[in-house]
Symmetry: C2
Subunit: 139 residues, 2 copies
DNA sequence: TGAAATCGGAACGAATCAGTCTGATTTAGG
DNA sequence: CCTAAATCAGACTGATTCGTTCCGATTTCA
């Protein structure tokens, strides 16, 4: 029930990239320096994000990363799915029949839980994560 | 974002045990046979569930398992936490400071997401999972 | 044309997870 | 009271995935 560190770092990286949206292009090394994450890790993260279509990459000197979509149109679910693969709590949700998929009585209930969970993540756009402060009273 | 197979099997096992709640005591081998899961795996699962306090175990001949609480008072979150440990999407939610917990701007937002997610799981009691049929129109 | 800078993918090591097994404990019966 | 069976409980091994790191292919600027 804990998402991988790569996914977490991907969220941080995307949040950092969202701030440079106006500038347009930012290098991975720049994002690593500003966020404090290890540079190679950021490189791997942006690689996956680019493959998923969330980031736009420009090779060569002066190149860098760029948000492929508006920050408001990117949700946590998108980032998590880009790094961790499809959101599926159990194997049967994905279609991969487990060993006891025939007798399992809770199988029909998993899609409901899965949808509720994904919906909760989809309700959090990237713009909300970019807002740093003013949320101290929730602790 | 996928819970471990052990947690999934734990849910199935608990669901199966809930049906024998009236009888009182059921052996782990019995649950394994009825659910179709591998017997050793069920043994490991019930061991963890007992340690967490969700099941009541009776040693010796004629012993077996028993629900420690009413089926309505056991939620998915309880089962998952018993097997997978605390529900914490990221390290900072648990209190384990990650490498960049100081500069991280999304850290204050994770508890909100985490609570929403756990709430979604806590809303599913074991009694709902025990109801086998009559949910075909949701597909 | 030369060179630098960037992303992209591939390789390595570590950690966790899943599965299996054997042993300690307890009760029922003789 | 003793034997015996049955049960849970914990420890071990193998495998998969995750995390990290490094080096090469590609592109643009000077
Ligand atoms: S069929 Fe049942 S046991 Fe198999 S993956 Fe789905 S929920 Fe889990
Ligand atoms: S502080 Fe930021 S990077 Fe670290 S675990 Fe929390 S959200 Fe992730």
């Amino acid at each position: 029930m804990r998402l991988s560190n790569l996914a977490d770092y991907a969220v941080v990286t995307m949040c950092q990239a969202a701030r440079h949206c106006g500038g347009g292009k930012v290098s991975a090394a720049e994002l690593a320096s500003e966020s404090g994450l290890p540079a190679p890790t950021v490189q791997k993260v942006v690689s996956k994000l680019t493959s998923a279509g969330l980031l736009r990459s420009s090779r060569g000197a002066g190149g860098g990363l760029q948000l492929a979509r508006p920050a408001a149109a990117i949700s946590l679910a998108d980032i998590v799915e880009a790094v961790e693969g499809p959101i599926a709590l159990t194997a049967c949700v994905e279609g991969e029949d487990c060993a006891v998929h025939e007798k399992c009585s809770v199988k029909p209930h998993w899609p409901i839980v899965n949808s509720a969970l994904r919906g909760a993540l989809a309700e959090i756009p990237l713009t909300r994560l970019a807002q740093i402060p003013q949320v101290k009273e929730v602790a």
